[in-house]
Amino acid sequence: MDVLMIQSFAEPGLTHFLIVSAILFSLGIMAVLSRRNTIMVLMGVELILNSANINFIAFSRFTELSLDGQMIGLFVIIIAAAEAAVALAIVLNVYNRFKTINLDEISLLKG
């Protein structure tokens, strides 16, 4: 068991990358749930997307997924860029109307 532990420490395999991505994912969840600043929530979402991306690429490196995993990672990055642009435009509009970006205070459906 001990030898196994040391070996598993020594050489980063698939599980290591997956664990890193799991920790990043939970931190992202934490940011999304506990922060009320819209931009902070956006940053949490970026972190979650990144952790998912690590998973895809780790699978593409260590399993038979091969380059398809990297392809999906590429598309995730593209979609994250589009999401960030639109989301920040919305945030700026919201700020212009309500003078706040606290998520609890902008629950009205009608501006």
């Binding site: 050489e11 980063p12 599980t15 290591h16 990358f17 997956l18 664990i19 890193v20 799991a22 920790i23 990043l24 994912f25 939970s26 931190l27 969840i29 934490m30 940011a31 749930l33 506990s34 922060r35 009320r36 600043n37 931009i39 902070m40 956006l42 940053m43 949490g44 970026e46 972190l47 690590i54 690429i57 780790a58 593409s60 490196r61 260590f62 399993t63 038979e64 380059l67 990297q70 392809m71 990672g73 590429l74 598309f75 990055i77 593209i78 979609i79 994250a80 860029a81 589009a82 960030a84 642009a85 639109v86 920040l88 435009a89 919305i90 700026l92 509009n93 700020y95 212009n96 003078k99």
Partner: protein
């Protein structure tokens, strides 16, 4: 220990530490800069996973684009002064419980699963293969992603121009 191993642990620690600073920092600009370190660490992890093209894309798009957008958002939406960027934290207990639960569950699942690992040789030319795949199997998602980006750009520009028009009319 091999160099790759040292680099893996180094960059994992940097990534996770920076992400933790991002989540728990009170100052939102500090959070944004911590996110930068996390993103750079993730790019380094991509390199260790033989995804050099993706690592460069990560740097270019996330660090050079999205993060600057976020910083602009922070600067434009915080009232006035440079250091008045504190944000409030709510739901601390449920959020902690939920995220820790998610982390424990995920790690348990990852460790116990028997992955079918096929050790690939190094990939010397991912760019060429990725380009070929983009123009072959993935041509439809590629076009759809292009259209999506176009729509996103037009939408963002429309929203922000309306914003400035309102500003001119309102005040």
């Amino acid at each position: 220990m091999e160099l790759t191993t040292i680099l893996f642990y180094l960059f994992s620690i940097v990534t996770i530490g920076a992400a933790a600073v991002m989540v728990f920092s009170k100052n939102i600009v500090h959070s944004a800069f911590a996110l930068m370190f996390a993103l750079i660490g993730v790019a380094a992890l991509y390199v260790l996973l033989y995804a050099d093209f993706l690592a460069a894309t990560q740097l270019l798009v996330y660090v050079g684009g999205i993060l600057i957008l976020i910083l602009f958002g922070v600067m434009l939406t915080s009232l006035g002064y440079t250091f008045n960027f504190r944000t409030i934290t709510v739901n601390l207990v449920p959020a902690t419980v939920l995220s820790t639960g998610a982390a424990v569950l995920l790690i348990f699942a990852f460790v116990t699963t028997e992955w079918k690992i096929t050790e690939v040789a190094e990939r010397p030319d991912t760019v060429y293969d990725l380009g070929m795949m983009l123009m072959g199997d993935y041509i439809l998602p590629f076009i759809v992603a292009g259209v999506l980006l176009l729509i996103a750009i037009i939408g963002a520009i429309l929203m922000s121009t309306r914003l400035s028009a309102e500003n001119k009319g309102g005040t």
